[in-house]
Structure formats: structure tokens, C-alpha cells
């Protein structure tokens, strides 16, 4: 029997009270670390259940224009991995929701994979999403994460065959992140019967909770996902709102999603 990580337990407990959870995404250091903190505070107060903190990387291959630019701007402003860890530590101490890191493998590799995992554990990060690290390349990472009882989270896509889904699920803890469509982050998604069928297929190939992201940006999208998945992920849209209307507008935007 698979042992539940702290992350999976807290997701299941939260799901007992709510029929769908909301996870949001920010890029640490964009537009500044102070703004990152302010956004997290507003998001938590508005009712966000989990947060994905992206450590900026210069080559974010899987990200679309909005998050790509946020990575570049954070780096241009001088964001470092060390500062990201310090800020994440402050967030996990101040706010009582699970925090995850999302970043690309080179950040772990250059930091030292086991040191990266130890540091996550030390500062209270509960899981990681590393979109360019398939299990076949990530044995050291997986071993370290499992040993630290942290959750390595893998991604299901509409191109993933069922046997591969089971392989990814076997190598994951916490939850599975499914992307609603092909392509990169931050573009429109059709919320359709086809998507429902795909999410049912995802659910039948893992016993972990399911999160869905890529193109989720409104109350209607989240209502569509209710009953089909455990977690809705809003990524690029909250960054877009912040860029258009300022950091202060993020709270209002999140409230429209969870109201």
C-alpha cells in the first residue's frame, strides 16, 4: 500500500470540506520579491488552497509568453535561487497552506539535487514540479524526494498513453498535474466533452488526487472542472491580472474564482 505524503493528506482533508481546491502559480521575484510576498498573502486571504512557486530559469521551455516574460524579468531584476529559497521559507512559515516549487531541472542540477531536496524539506516546501525531468532521467531526484517524504509531481498530457500514465503515477506522490491541452502555459483551452473524457481517463490511471491546469482562468472553467478533478490550477491568468491592473487587483480576481 502506497504511503500518503503530507501533501496528499492535506489535499484529501481539504477536499472533505470543499468540492474543488484552487492552486495558483507565481514566479518568485516577479516583479519583485516584495510583490511576490504581497500576492501570496492576498491569494491565501482570498481562499487559495495550494500555491506553486516558480523559481525563475532563463530557458523555461514549457512556458508560454506570460510566464516566460515573468521569468526573464525576475532574472533581469537580479533574482537568485538563494533569494527564492529565503522568500519561500518566509511564505511557508507565515501561511498555513501547502507550497510547492515549480522549476526546471538545471536549477536543481546546479544547486545539487540532494541539497535542493534537503533545502526544500528544511524550509517546508512539500513537493516539486520539474517539467523537463521525466522519471527516466530523474532517479536521483525521485530517490531523494521519496526519502525526504516530499512529493515529486508528474504531468499527464492528452498525448500520454494509459501505460505511461500509470508509470508516471507510480513515480509520483501528492497529486498528478494534468494539462488540459497541448501547447504551452497561458493560452486558451476548450472546456468540452472531450476534456471530460480525458480527465476521466486520467482519473482511471492514478489513485492520486488530480489537478488540472493550462488555460483555467474563470469561475465558469472551475465550475466545469468541479466533480471531475480535485484541484483547479490558475497560472498565467493571475500574472496577467497583476500586469494589467497591479498587484492589488490579484485578490479581487481570486475572490471571483472561489466565491
Amino acid at each position: 500500500m502506497r504511503e500518503q505524503t503530507t501533501l496528499e493528506q492535506s489535499i484529501r482533508q481539504a477536499r472533505d470540506k470543499k468540492d474543488i481546491l484552487l492552486m495558483t502559480h507565481i514566479v518568485l521575484g516577479y516583479p519583485s520579491f516584495d510583490d511576490s510576498l504581497r500576492m501570496v498573502e492576498d491569494m491565501v486571504n482570498a481562499g487559495v488552497d495550494l500555491m506553486e512557486l516558480q523559481i525563475p530559469f532563463s530557458e523555461p521551455m514549457a512556458d508560454g509568453p506570460v510566464i516566460l516574460r515573468a521569468n526573464a524579468e525576475a532574472l533581469k531584476a537580479g533574482a537568485t535561487v538563494e533569494q527564492s529559497f529565503k522568500m519561500a521559507e518566509r511564505m511557508t512559515k507565515e501561511f498555513d497552506i501547502p507550497f510547492l516549487f515549480m522549476t526546471y531541472y538545471n536549477i536543481l542540477f546546479c544547486h545539487g539535487v540532494s541539497r535542493f531536496v534537503d533545502d526544500c524539506s528544511r524550509i517546508g516546501i512539500q513537493g516539486c514540479i520539474v517539467p523537463d525531468l521525466p522519471p527516466a532521467e530523474g532517479q536521483e531526484y525521485l530517490d531523494a524526494m521519496h526519502a525526504a517524504k516530499l512529493s515529486p509531481i508528474h504531468i499527464f498530457t492528452p498525448n500520454t498513453p494509459a501505460d505511461r500514465m500509470r508509470h508516471l503515477s507510480d513515480n509520483s506522490s501528492g497529486f498528478i498535474y494534468t494539462v488540459a491541452r497541448k501547447g504551452v502555459t497561458g493560452k486558451d483551452t476548450a472546456f468540452s466533452d472531450e476534456l471530460s473524457d480525458y480527465l476521466a481517463l486520467c482519473n482511471s490511471n492514478t489513485d492520486l488526487p488530480l489537478a488540472v491546469g493550462f488555460g483555467v482562468k474563470s469561475r465558469e472553467d472551475i465550475d466545469f472542472l468541479r466533480g471531475k478533478v480535485d484541484i483547479a490550477v490558475v497560472g498565467s491568468e493571475s500574472i496577467r491580472v497583476m500586469e494589467q491592473d497591479g498587484v492589488g487587483a490579484v485578490k479581487g480576481f481570486i475572490e471571483t474564482l472561489v466565491a
Partner: protein, 414 residues
Amino acid sequence: MKNSGYYSQFGGAFIPEILVPTFDELESAYLAAREDESFWREYLDLMSTYSCRATPITRLDNLSSQLGGANIFVKREDLNHTGAHKANNVMGQGLLTRRMGKKRVIAETGAGQHGVATATMAAKFGFDCTIYMGAHDVARQRPNVFWMEQMGATVVAVTEGSQTLKDAINEAFRDWVSNMDDTHYVLGTACGPHPFPEMVSWFQSIIGTESRAQMLERNDRLPARVYACVGGGSNAMGIFSGFIDDNDVELVGVEAGGRGRGAGQHAARLAYDDATIGVAQGYKTYFLQDRDGQMQDTHSVSAGLDYVGVSPILSSMHESGRVRFEAASDDDVVNAMQRTVRHEGLIPALESSHAFAQAYREAPGMSAEEDILINMSGRADKDIFTVADAVDDPKWREFIIDKADAYKQEMGDA
């Protein structure tokens, strides 16, 4: 997915999950093509009727006697259709694209040679074609952009990041993750996730196979040293592959020394010690990056060598000592090019001129009983604007000013 494609500790396939089935499909198609002798026959037939294979080897008579020392020979990849070795890889991947039943190709390009070659292949095979090119490179390689567009390709100027080759690669991947069903990504060099380094090297090995036979036939002996410039490393992998088992043949890779050592001044990943091992753009190799693993800016007079990473196969040959890596500065490169133009009537591209510069530095110290071979990976027509600036030619400047005035006049009249 199989955990394959490693060369000692370098290589691998660090790809987003969405592309895993696409890479599995590509690897199967590539392996099937290697098994099928008719594929290589079709490839050789195409290259001899559409491009100029086998390309000749030319002895540099004047410079060999001027410099003294070794006899200098040049492998003429500039005589390929589209003017560079890039055609070897592109036509091979074109055949593979047709086998996989895909209708659209995308590619990144730095200097524009790979983009032109891909647009040419797409025109011939009837594929739709989109080329991603850093905005900085679009600005310095207008003639190549012109030809790509004439051939029906869409050229997208990439304004992200440093606006050079690595950013064009990222954008091509972003296209591919949306359109993999009907699209093949024609990666232009021996980098990227497995199977690209191995597959591109296989198509380019035609250079080395020909060169070895030609040198033996002509001189009845193998060259003492073989020189190739190294950006991503495909022309070097191509020519080196012919001599890899000849332990007496020294292989010399020449990187972009730019303005000299120090971050941001050059693109020498292996010759200098500014690069460290990392994972980006889907593979593990030496990258010019900072301590956190953020890629740094690079500089070279030649757009085609201006790249943060290097073929994982070359990194492993660097580590094993099989290939020696050197760097040539921008100034040495322009001098070597001018010298080759003036005394031999050959016009090597700025990229290829790196190999010439290093060979000219070493030839005088060698014996007249030794031969050296330089891979002239491409010709410099595309570099005419950069070279005219580098040699500060007043008549060229006058020509451009007159041309601009004439355009302005026309627009004013319209």
C-alpha cells in the same frame, strides 16, 4: 521512453512530458531508417543530384607555401546547395519527415544557413515551413531571411531572451509542443534531446566518410590533423566521424573566442574554462551559465557559433581527450578569412574561418611531410554585411547609402 542517448555523462532527453510520444516516434523512425539500407541509398542519390556531393577537397597551394610547414587541404562543404554543410542534415531529416507522414517542418536558425536549408528542403518536398530566428540574428542576416521568405517559409523573429540561437530553439520547442501531430522539428545541430545529437551526426558523417577516402586517394596517407569550427558541433561531428578510429589523426575543434576570456565575451564552452555542466534545451552538456544555472550571454562575430551549449558527443570527446578544443578570436577569424579570400579565392563563412584561423596558426610548426584538413563548413555570401563592416570597406558603405537613398526616393515618389 528508453533511457538512452548518453555519451559518457552527457546527452539524455530532458523533455516535457507532452513530447515523450513524439520523441519515441522519432527515435523509432530514425532507427528503422538506419536499419534500412535503401534509406541511405536514397539519401546518397538525393545528395548527389540535388546538392553537390561528393564535395571536393582543395589544396591551398599558395597559403601552404606562404605559411610553410604542413600541406593544407580544405573539404569544400561550401559547395553544397545552399552553401553549407547544413544541407546534409536537412535533406536527411526531410526524407525522415516524409517517412513519418508529417506535412510541416519547423526549425531554429542562428546564422540563417540552417533556416535557408530547411526552407529549401520544405520547398522541394512540399512541406509547410516555419523558421524561428533570434531578432538579433534577423537583423544581422537579412540576406538569408530574404531567401527563406522567397522559398515560402514563415520567418518568426524571436524577441525573447538574448534574441539569438538558444532563444530560437526554445521557441521552436514551444511550437512543437502544440503541433507535434503533423510537424517535425528539424533541429539543425548535433545538440538537443536524444536522438538528435546522434541522428544529426549520422547525416553529417557523409562529410567524414568522403574526406577520409579522398585524402587517402590523393596523398596515400591520412591527415595529421583535422580542423572544424564548433558551434553546436554538427560540421565537426561530421568530419571527425570519418577519422574517429584513426588514433594518429588529431582532431581539433575551434570555438568562438570572440573578444577573449570572461563571461559574455565569447562562446567557447570547451576551450576556455568559463562553462560548467548543466541541463538545458533538453540535454546535458557544458553550458556557459552562472552558478545558479542561468544561461549567460555569448558573443561571436559569427552568428552560427554564438551558442551557450555544445554537442554532448563533443563534450564526451573533450573529456576523453579524443578532440582538442581551441578558440579563435573575432579579429583572427576576420584576418584568416581575408587571407583565404585574397590568396586562394575561397570565401569561407565567418563560422568556418575559425577553423582556418587555428590551422594557419599551427601549420608553420608542422613538417612538410604532414597534411592537415580544414572543414570549410560554409561560404560567406551571407556574411557580406558583417565582413564589409569588419574590413571597413568605404565603397561598400557608399553603395549601401546610395541604395538607401534610392529606396527613400522611390518611397517619397510613391
